[in-house]
């Protein structure tokens, strides 16, 4: 599971109000290189929950990867950003699409219900009596 997926996923456990954002406890993660797509990232920026994304990078032990406030469109569009590993564009790309959570736990922020992540796949299954009405 990558952090772009984490940014959209919420808990549906009984008692949850929004169930979002899920707290991330990471046991193992890996990095896999992917080709950055500047247009995609610029389009994605206004749709992201930035605070949730930053919190997720902190729980990975990468507090310096992203700034506390989102980059501007101009920063993402800067000349040569795709080739410069330290650019705002490449950092956002890395955070969203190159980090894979392999083992760990997602925790519902409202109910503390835990959802295990095993072999990269979060298990969001709930028993019928645990589901939010």
């Amino acid at each position: 599971m990558r952090l772009l997926t984490h940014n959209m996923l919420a808990s549906n456990a009984r008692g949850a109000s929004t169930g979002y954002p899920l707290k991330l406890q990471v046991v193992k993660w890996t990095t896999k290189e992917a080709e950055p797509n500047a247009d995609f990232l610029r389009g994605m920026l206004p749709k992201l929950d930035w605070a949730a994304l930053v919190a997720a990078t902190h729980s990975l032990g990468l507090p310096g990867l992203l700034p506390e406030s989102p980059p501007t469109d101009a920063e993402l569009s800067a000349d040569g950003a795709a080739d410069d590993e330290g650019s705002a564009l490449r950092r956002l790309h890395r955070a969203l699409l190159e980090i894979h959570i392999e083992e760990g736990t997602l925790v519902c922020p409202d109910t503390e219900r835990c959802f295990p992540i095993s072999k990269g796949v979060p298990n969001m299954l709930l028993h019928e009596d645990e589901v939010r009405n």
């Binding site: 969001m124 299954l125 709930l126």
Partner: protein, 211 residues
């Protein structure tokens, strides 16, 4: 990517070895899957560079097809762990990055706007009545651009009404009628194989601020 190439790659995917009847696990054949995704991209621009979710992904055929057509981010969702393992192997064999989530579609909670397009070959609602409607309803909640799906032609009017009236679709269109060749998958099937008429649908959700 050419249609023939896409169909060929999908034809090499591993399929269910022991399909589960209660989940109506029927593989989406490479012929139908390649044409679904090809149409979604070439006629409507809904796949390449987009975030695509495959609901009830099974062994991952539609998710893999989306990724092969350069969807930027693909998420496959299924309730069944064995299916997800197969989907993971299929993606890995083609060196594709696909995120997978184990979840019952009716209990899915995905924050809006991030998913552009939902693709699915859902249960037809034969084994559990209403299962097909749960998939359409959730698809229209999650997608911001379009939902592509397959349903039995015999349910066409019912689906159109429900999508437009109850599930926030602003359009519900049958793009084509297909013959779905169902090989004898389960013991209770009497004939060796059976052709059923299936509609290929495109649903467009109402913009979120208009709901």
């Amino acid at each position: 990517m050419k249609l023939k190439k896409l169909e060929g790659l999908l034809g090499d995917l591993q399929q269910f070895t022991r399909p589960k009847v209660e989940l109506e696990q029927y593989a989406t054949g490479p012929h139908i899957a390649s044409r679904m995704l090809y149409t979604a991209e070439n006629s409507f621009d809904d796949i390449t560079g987009k975030v695509v979710a495959d609901f009830g992904c099974g062994c991952g055929t539609l998710a893999v097809a989306s990724s092969l057509l350069d969807a930027e981010h693909v998420v496959g969702i299924d309730i069944d762990p064995q299916s997800l393992e197969l989907a993971q192997e299929n993606a890995a064999d083609l060196e594709l990055d696909i995120d997978l989530i184990q979840c019952d579609i009716k209990n899915l909670n995905l924050r809006g706007l991030l998913v552009d397009t939902v693709v699915m070959n859902p249960p037809f609602g034969t084994s559990r009545k209403g299962a097909d409607m749960e998939f359409i309803s959730m698809g229209l909640k999650v997608a911001s651009r379009a939902v592509y799906s397959l349903h039995k032609t015999s349910t066409r009017e019912h689906i159109k009404k429900a999508a437009l009236r109850n599930y926030n679709a602003i359009s519900a269109e049958v793009l084509c009628e297909l013959r779905y060749n169902l090989p004898k998958t389960y013991k209770f099937h009497k004939q060796k194989e059976v052709d059923i008429a299936v509609d290929f649908w495109r649903f467009v959700p109402r913009a979120r601020d208009e709901r």
